[in-house]
């Protein structure tokens, strides 16, 4: 617990000074705010929440994966992780500390999305539940990619295609039935389903998202067993 707290505090301080990571948590709500106020609210053909839900889905699919894998890859590239492990920090404590900060940052961004979206109380709760569940999935996926990335450049190269597919698949699914069928099994699509129609219910999307989390956790454990954090 002591190590988790130490890593959490370190990462929280570091993130406030790490512009390339910090921007990912700010830019998506900012774009959603701008598009909602200056485009959607002046156009009767566009739903007021359209840009909020679109940006929120892309944020979970892209920003969280990228930030998790970039942070881990940087710690490995600069050998900082080596000193933590030698000091007795267990891999799980390290990942909980890093993941905890990303989770809290994504909670703040999601609150901003929720505010911009102007949801009622029930919608807001459903929005937050589905966003934070998606955040858990993305953080685990980002950490798995981080294990395979030798450095930050490799992390970006590895994570970008996956993040783009996950972030944009709900949008593409709207125009292609086959992609929509495939996307149903992916957590980002389920987030999109919930935030675009709160009346459709939470149960089935949450089951799919948490099944995704279980699969990603197994993938992470396999990747960790094969590569470890320091290799």
């Amino acid at each position: 617990m002591r190590s988790v707290k130490a890593i959490f505090v370190k990462q929280a301080k570091d993130m406030t000074k790490n512009f390339s990571v910090l921007i990912m948590f700010v830019i998506f709500p900012l774009v959603a705010f701008g598009m909602t106020h200056f485009v959607a609210r002046g156009n009767d053909d566009i739903a007021d929440t359209m840009f909020t839900t679109m940006m929120a889905g892309i944020f979970v699919g892209m920003a969280l994966i990228q930030s998790a894998c970039t942070i881990i890859a940087e710690d490995r590239e600069k050998k900082s992780l080596r000193f933590l492990v030698i000091a007795g920090v267990k891999p799980l404590a390290y990942l909980l500390g890093i993941g905890g900060v990303i989770f809290v940052a994504s909670l703040l961004s999601s609150l901003a999305f929720g505010y911009i979206g102007g949801f009622n109380r029930n919608e807001f709760v459903a929005f937050m539940v589905v966003m934070m569940s998606g955040a858990v999935a993305s953080i685990i996926l980002g950490a798995t990619i981080g294990i395979y990335a030798k450095n930050q450049q490799a992390a970006t190269g590895l994570s970008m295609p996956i993040a783009v597919i996950l972030g944009f698949s709900p949008m593409i699914a709207q125009f292609n039935e086959r992609i929509e069928i495939l996307a149903r099994f992916v957590y980002t699509q389920q987030i999109n389903v919930v935030v675009n129609d709160f009346s459709a219910g939470l149960t089935q999307p949450l089951v799919v998202i948490w099944l995704n989390i279980a699969v990603l956790a197994v993938l992470f454990i396999a990747a960790y067993a094969k590569k470890g954090l320091r290799s």
């Binding site: 600069k78 030698i86 000091a87």
Partner: protein, 232 residues
């Protein structure tokens, strides 16, 4: 205190350590000398359990918590301040934050406490890395090329620190390719070449044994004495 017995390590088909055996006693400065690629860092990596040997055994008579480590790659957090870098490890070890300030003073970085690590010179980074290594008052300290690339003045400052730590009873295991540094600091040295031990013992005795006692004028010492500063 530190013992290696018949250690062999291969990377692929290349043998980097071949039947390496030695023993470092408590409270001494034990030097591992050799050119780059001789296998010095591999020995430290094995002793600190970062690498597993292919055969042989090794033992350190203290827990991993009681060891400190300074490597050529410092692993410092560039965006954090010097003090915050030390606080991370103080929190991990469960020691008070005031120890971080004390140790910064010890390495002469008290005025840079609030500076981001990215703004530090190489010498200051080395001193901060040393501060992190000694923060929890380890009984065994591993130093991998602690003065590599530093100006003579800064190197001398680090030498004094190392000697001070030895006086407090810390066992120091250092690698270097600087022979003068080894003669100046070490009680016992081990000469390593292409993964094999070629000689070991007390530095002056080794030199006498090989009729290699030199009397070369030490201009560097004269310069520092006359100016109070190093050659950088």
């Amino acid at each position: 205190m530190i013992k290696m017995d018949g250690i062999v390590k291969k990377f692929g088909t290349q043998t980097v350590l071949s039947d390496v055996s030695f023993e470092a006693k408590q409270g001494e400065i034990f030097g591992l000398l050799g050119r780059s690629g001789a296998g010095k860092t591999t020995i430290i990596n094995i002793l600190t359990n970062q690498l597993k040997p292919d055969s042989g055994s090794h033992k350190i008579s203290v827990s991993s918590y009681e060891t400190g480590l300074m490597l050529d790659e410092d692993g410092l957090y560039d965006r954090l301040t010097c003090l915050d870098n030390l606080h991370v490890f103080a929190d991990i070890y469960g020691i008070p934050h005031k120890n971080s300030s004390e140790v910064l003073e010890k390495v002469g970085l008290e005025n840079a406490a609030k500076k981001a690590v990215s703004q530090l010179s190489k010498g200051m980074r080395q001193r901060l890395a040393l501060a992190r290594a000694i923060l929890h008052k380890p009984k065994v300290l591993f130093l991998d090329e602690p003065t590599s690339g530093l100006d003579p003045n800064t190197a001398q400052g680090i030498h004094k620190l190392i000697q001070g730590l030895q006086k407090q009873g810390t066992t120091i295991f250092l690698t270097t390719h600087n022979m003068d540094e080894a003669v100046k600091l070490c009680n016992h040295v081990l000469l390593l070449h292409k993964g094999k031990i070629v000689e070991q013992g007390i530095p002056t005795e080794i030199c006498e044994r090989h009729n290699a006692t030199k009397t070369v004028p030490d201009l560097e010492a004269v310069f520092i004495k006359m100016t109070g500063e190093g050659l950088s």
